[in-house]
């Protein structure tokens, strides 16, 4: 799935009569389907390092839109497995090094495609292999996770680890308590969380910290009133959300801020109708896709996070999303509630 942006722009910036504010489901479906046909554009190749994430974004977006079969299952499976390394990690595309960010996307895609059995069939012991790769990236002293062998640490990677391992039923491979301690050390004076201890509070990082704590069953360590106040302060007068104080609104924060609020039971602290209108106004009504803000070029990243935000806000007709896993709720339920998941 390519990350090429455009060709359309979001927002009804032309002079035509204002359209009725609604979700252009069919347009978005064909927009996502068209992405992989754009191999004659340089941007297609320049975004190869995000191909695996792109596939997860596109596939999940289609599920949320109620079109889960709009992409060919076998081709997706082939692609994902062609990115798997002997180590058990996945790269962004064939020939790219393994990294936590692509490994979690791969596991999420396999989970969404109900393909853990296919994985075992094609790669003997595949599930365990992936689990051990992820576990090997935990620093036993601090509890946090590196993204790859180079050791960059970020609460994003910690979340990725807990997300993937819990889907695989292999959380037992890591020290969850230490990971929770590390997240606590990332809490700032303003109640938010950053990518490392003392790094500026940032909505994206708050999402990763809360989701990791949810998976660990440790939301009790969160000061939810104070954090909820900070998060709800992210909504601007135009209805959109920003990621940090005094920054511009952006559709992708519709997900990170709103899902964080949802996890602590405070989603109603922001104005959902105005957020939904803001997202809908970022659609390209002709070519499909959603942009970061009205007037900008659409891309699959903002298309997905815009749709995820709408799903969280219970936009009519959409499939419900799980705020912790950022996947369709029915799918995470199917996997996590399987009685033999930890076998």
């Amino acid at each position: 799935m390519s990350l090429v942006s455009g060709p359309g722009r979001g927002g009804m910036t032309d002079a035509r009569l204002p359209r009725e504010l609604r979700l252009f489901v069919d347009k978005h479906v064909s927009y996502i389907q068209s992405l992989d046909t754009r191999k004659d554009e340089l941007e297609y190749w320049l975004t190869e390092h995000l191909r695996m994430n792109g596939l997860y974004w596109g596939l999940t977006a289609l599920h949320l839109l109620g079109h889960p079969d709009a992409l060919p299952r076998n081709e997706m499976l082939d692609f994902v497995l062609s990115c798997m390394h002997e180590s058990g990690g996945f790269g962004a595309a064939p020939g790219h090094d393994a990294h936590m960010l692509y490994t979690v996307s791969s596991v999420q895609i396999l989970a969404t495609l109900d393909a853990f059995d296919d994985l075992e069939e094609r790669v003997k012991g595949g599930r365990q292999k992936i689990g051990h790769y992820i576990a090997s990236l935990q620093n036993p002293a601090t509890g946090t996770f590196a993204g790859d062998e180079w050791g960059e640490t970020d609460t994003r990677f910690l979340y990725c680890a807990l997300n993937a391992l819990s889907l695989l039923g292999l959380l037992g491979l890591i020290d969850v308590d230490k990971a929770v301690e590390y997240i606590q050390s990332c809490q700032n004076f303003d109640g938010g969380y950053g990518n490392r201890p003392e790094a500026e509070s940032h909505s994206g990082q708050i999402f990763t910290c809360l989701a990791a704590l949810s998976i660990a069953g440790r939301l009790d360590v969160v000061e939810s009133d104070r954090l909820g106040a900070w998060l709800s302060e992210r909504q601007l007068k135009n209805g959109g959300l920003n990621g940090r104080p005094e920054k511009k609104e952006d559709v992708c924060y519709s997900w990170w801020v709103a899902s964080s609020l949802a996890m602590i039971g405070k989603l109603h602290w922001i104005d959902g109708d105005r957020l939904a209108s803001f997202i809908l106004n970022c659609q390209d009504p002709d070519g499909g896709g959603i942009a970061d803000r009205p007037g900008d070029m659409v891309d699959v990243f903002h298309t997905f996070f815009g749709l995820a935000g709408l799903s969280l806000l219970k936009y009519p007709g959409m499939v419900e999303i799980d705020p912790v896993y950022c996947m369709p709720l029915a799918i995470t339920k199917r996997i996590l509630e399987k009685p033999d998941v930890n076998s």
């Binding site: 004659d40 554009e41 020939g95 700032n188 950053g194 790094a199 500026e200 109603h268 602290w269």
Partner: protein, 308 residues
């Protein structure tokens, strides 16, 4: 532009084109061709794990076209260390590359790896200042700066002063506020107990609020100070009243002051009505988009012994 297929230095390498499983005609656009050719040579030398000067040249070429390609950075770092290349030269090359690709973050981890190995922070703060001229809120650069301060013990080397300079330029720069907190309190847990420093910080934050009363960052900073130093909100009552007073509900200069006042009234115990009034003003007039939040705060007033 390099044409690897016609370059003598590369005749021994058989390029490996990307096999993505399908039959797609590659583009005829020249730039795309240049990129894909370079990538096919990279795949070929990575396959034999070649560590060489020309590997560095090739990664430099690819990074100039696509700095987000993390595998290229990783390979470059390995090659740099393997052939003992000059790390000072690497930094000299990284500077313009970072300035050209402001949004890229792979470069900052690479830089950290190099500077750590170099074991010297010389010139780093100066370069960071140049980055901030282009984007004063770059998350990865601030993160790198924190690492630098800790790694090279730069706490007293002008950090507070340069952060103040940045806040002078933009008092709303939340990243700079966060860095100030880091510089003042990050070194030692005991600093918060130092009355002199605490007073200095309170004075500083008050002055910032006078300049822009609706600016979220200094209010968050002030709340952080009160909380960490275990000071009651009432110590700020007079200050908050300068920006908002229930007697003049149409002349509120800061919703944050009103918010703080609500807490002061809760603390005072016998002023529940005033607290409710302040929260009502926020819900109805000064911050209606978060009406549910303010109403929640109001609902807490009816619970015994709860401070919001």
């Amino acid at each position: 532009m390099t044409q690897y297929s016609e370059d003598e230095a590369w005749t021994d390498v058989e390029p490996l084109p990307q096999d993505d499983g399908g039959a797609h005609p590659l583009a005829a656009i020249a730039y795309t061709d240049e990129y894909n050719e370079a990538m096919s040579y990279l795949r070929a030398i990575m396959a034999k794990n070649e560590m060489s000067e020309r590997a560095l040249d090739l990664t430099e070429h690819i990074i100039s076209m696509n700095p987000a390609h993390y595998t290229v950075w990783l390979y470059r770092a390995k090659a740099l260390f393997a052939i003992n290349a000059s790390l000072h030269e690497e930094i000299a090359w990284l500077n313009p590359t970072a300035l050209k690709h402001l949004k890229n973050y792979q470069i900052w981890h690479h830089r950290q790896t190099i500077v750590d190995k170099l074991d010297s922070a010389e010139g780093e703060i100066a370069f960071i200042s140049r980055m901030f001229e282009a984007d004063a809120k770059n998350y990865h650069v601030w993160s790198y700066r924190q690492w630098l301060v800790r790694r090279f013990d730069l706490w007293d080397k002008g950090e507070l002063e340069s952060t103040e300079e940045m806040l002078k330029t933009d008092i709303r720069n939340n990243s700079a506020w966060n860095h100030r907190w880091f510089v003042v309190f990050g070194r030692d847990d005991k600093v918060i107990e130092d009355q002199q420093i605490l007073n200095r910080e309170i004075d500083y934050v008050k002055a910032a609020i006078y300049m822009a009363p609706q600016n979220q960052s200094p209010w968050n900073y002030l709340r952080g100070l009160l909380r960490c130093a275990k000071l009651p909100a009432s110590t700020m009552k007079d200050f908050a009243l300068e920006f908002a007073s229930l007697d003049k509900p149409d002349e509120v200069y800061s919703s944050h002051a009103l918010d703080l006042l609500a807490d002061v009234y809760v603390e005072e115990g016998n002023a529940k009505e005033q607290a409710a009034e302040a929260l009502d003003l926020l819900a109805k007039k000064y911050d209606p988009i978060r009406a549910n939040y303010w109403n929640y705060r109001k609902s807490l007033l009816d619970q015994p012994n709860v401070v919001a």
